[in-house]
């Protein structure tokens, strides 16, 4: 009979910021993975006690039940505006938003674009699963061409429904965006990379370099009419081809003094003329 001499070591632990309760998410849903990654990253950076997070409307509306953080519930699409208000009055807080694709890229397009344009030091987590899951799987702004949803029963057609919006690529163009990346929950490797993107997006906020966003392409087995395994395969092949994972921009890395200029800094329209521009009329 053998004895074990090695001291016990922890090989698995639930992140302290992840609440010990089961979620309402459907079996196979990717939200739980993203929640865990957020909890791990915030925990590793010691940010839990100073985080003010903003919850979306949509499947992740109950995120405040799953993460042990202070939360504000935002109206549908308005999380970046709510977070802006928090950011401005709480300069020392860590500010996090969590939104889905309908919330961020349809009803909340104005809010996300302008929070990004202002370069608010906020970390935005954007889960893109291509459907409105909470309301029964309708077409989202990111729904792929040809994809069947409950509001595109014969598939999304450009002539009828327009084209999917690559919103993160659009945001990456803005000088206020210091970091934009797209991760995936398709397999262990991409989950690991997504965690690294999330960590970077937090560091960018801590450096006050500007707005940071991590899109995570995720699966919705129920909304896609697939088994969890089929949905993962679809995510890994079809969805990842349409929304390729990777870092879209990292202006902090490209130019350490990012906000002050440098190689990675995009020149804003009118920036060169700024010193000589017209002054507002007095009176």
């Amino acid at each position: 009979m053998s004895t074990i001499d090695a001291p016990p070591r922890v090989i698995f632990e639930s992140p302290a910021l992840l609440a010990d309760r089961s979620t309402h998410y459907c079996p196979g849903c990717g939200h739980g993975v993203v929640h865990r990654l957020v909890a791990e990253v915030l925990g590793e950076l010691g940010l839990g006690p100073k985080t003010i997070a903003v919850a979306p409307v949509g499947c992740a509306v109950f995120i405040y039940d799953y993460l042990e953080l202070d939360f504000i519930e935002a109206p549908h699409g308005r999380a970046p505006a709510v977070a802006t208000g928090v950011r401005r009055v709480r300069p020392d807080a860590f500010v996090l938003t969590y939104q889905g694709d309908g919330d961020l890229a349809a009803i909340g397009t104005g809010e996300i674009v302008h929070a990004a344009a202002r370069g608010e030091p906020i970390t935005a987590v954007f889960v893109n699963n291509g459907v409105y899951g909470m309301t029964g799987g309708q077409m989202a702004p990111t729904t792929l061409l040809g994809q069947r949803t409950t509001s595109t029963p014969t598939g999304r057609q450009p002539a009828l429904h327009g084209y999917p919006i690559p919103i993160t690529e659009m945001l990456a163009l803005l000088p206020g965006v210091a970091y934009a990346a797209r991760g995936s929950v398709a397999d262990a490797g991409s989950i690991g990379r997504t965690k690294a993107y999330l960590r970077r997006a937090c560091e960018v906020q801590l450096a006050r370099a500007g707005f940071a966003i991590v899109e995570v392409i995720s699966n919705c087995p129920v909304g896609w009419g697939m088994t969890p395994l089929e949905s993962i395969e679809h995510l890994r092949t079809v969805v990842a081809a349409a929304y390729p994972p990777g870092v879209l921009v990292d202006r902090l890395k490209e130019a350490p003094a990012a906000r002050g200029g440098g190689a990675g800094r995009v020149e804003a329209p009118g920036e060169r003329q700024r010193a000589t521009g017209p002054a507002p009329a007095e009176g």
Partner: protein, 361 residues
């Protein structure tokens, strides 16, 4: 030493009163006739190291305000009618999540894009809750620039005491007119915000939310809100009266309409009509009991509004048919003249006030 007496524009006076009341953050979007309020804040708030953000829309502004206010900050938002409509959704969230905030509506003519002229046509929107769901919002209506200065700190007090959004309902004339005022500013005490978010450091996490998915939970939450609204209705009624003691006819009006009515009752008295003025200052809670008591000893009521008749509905509810109620109003930026109001009083008198025996009135 007496406070300094200066000439101030209503929009700027409201802005400065908020600053002096300790407003931490302002969020807005340009719209006539309240733009000077935003511009005043754009200049003054950064000077004081406080927060000013010109948002991308009224949706952006009110939701930024929600975020800031959820941390316990003292927050002001202002707009005018169409912008106020856009804010209705977030106002409902603020009421549901019990977040204090002061919203100024410098009303303009509607419906739709309407006009930029002064109006009181958002009365029902303001006093009946504004957004979706079962809730009320305290509404304070200044009738002068000086009163606006006085009501701003009161609005912050009510907001924080009851954890509710509060509306200051002004019209384009109050916003645009310049009047001499004494700079009697006031900074109310801050109520402890033991509910606000700020990072779960050494305490359990807090959530500022309005979602209660279990029907029984939402029912209980609404009962709690209604209890709060009943308390506000009992304690926070504000109104002013003039020449009511011997009045036979009473004009009910608020804001700019009350200024016109005031001139009119003095003129009417000159021609022998015993007229008085009842001026609600809190539009919700409405001074129903006070008006009903007065109605029981007069002959008739004339409601004057810069709208096609909204306040008149609350007057009817309060008076419960005790006396006849007439209405005089204009919309679209037209302000009733004192002469029109006197004429309306004459007509009301002819229909209601008994002619004394042996003589003409």
């Amino acid at each position: 030493m007496n406070p300094r007496r200066t000439l101030m524009k209503g929009n700027e006076a409201i802005a400065e009163a908020a600053i002096q009341a300790g407003c931490d953050a302002y969020f807005g979007y340009p719209i006539t006739p309240q733009a000077e309020l935003l511009e005043w804040m754009a200049r003054r708030m950064p000077e004081l190291g406080r927060v000013f953000v010109q948002a991308e829309s009224e949706l952006g502004a009110i939701n930024m305000a929600l975020g800031a206010a959820a941390t316990g900050a003292r927050v002001l938002v202002s707009s005018s009618s169409p912008g106020i409509s856009l804010m209705a959704e977030a106002m409902s969230y603020l009421a549901g999540s019990e977040v204090p905030l002061v919203l100024v509506n410098v009303m303009r003519g509607g419906p739709g894009l309407g006009s930029i002229g002064p109006s009181q046509s958002d009365y029902l929107q303001a006093v009946k809750g504004h957004g979706h769901g079962d809730y009320r919002t305290p509404v304070l209506a200044p009738a002068s620039v000086a009163e606006a200065i006085e009501l701003v700190p009161t609005a912050f007090e009510l907001a924080e005491r009851y954890r509710t959004p509060v509306i200051i309902l002004a019209d384009g004339i109050i916003g645009q007119a310049m009047e001499p005022v004494e700079e009697r500013f006031r900074a109310p005490e801050r109520a402890p915000a033991d509910w606000a978010v700020g990072g779960a450091d050494g305490r359990p996490p807090r959530v500022v939310k309005s979602l209660h998915l279990r029907n029984e939970d939402l029912d209980a939450h609404n009962r709690h809100l209604q209890e709060k609204f009943r308390t506000i209705a009992e304690r926070e009624v504000r109104w002013a009266g003039e020449q009511l003691d011997d009045a036979e006819l009473v004009v009910v009006a608020y804001g700019t309409a009350a200024r016109v009515a005031r001139t009119a009752i003095h003129r009417a008295r000159g021609s022998g009509l015993r007229a008085g003025l009842f001026r609600p200052i809190s539009l919700w809670p409405f001074p129903s009991h006070e008006l009903a008591e007065i109605a029981s000893r007069i002959q008739g009521i004339l409601v004057v509004e810069l709208s096609m008749g909204q306040l008149v509905e609350d007057v009817r509810l309060a008076v419960e048919g005790r006396v006849p109620i007439a209405f005089e109003g204009h919309a679209g930026g037209v302000v009733p003249t004192p002469g029109e109001v006197v004429d309306a009083l004459e007509r009301l008198a002819a229909a209601t006030v008994p002619v004394p025996a042996g003589g003409s009135r």
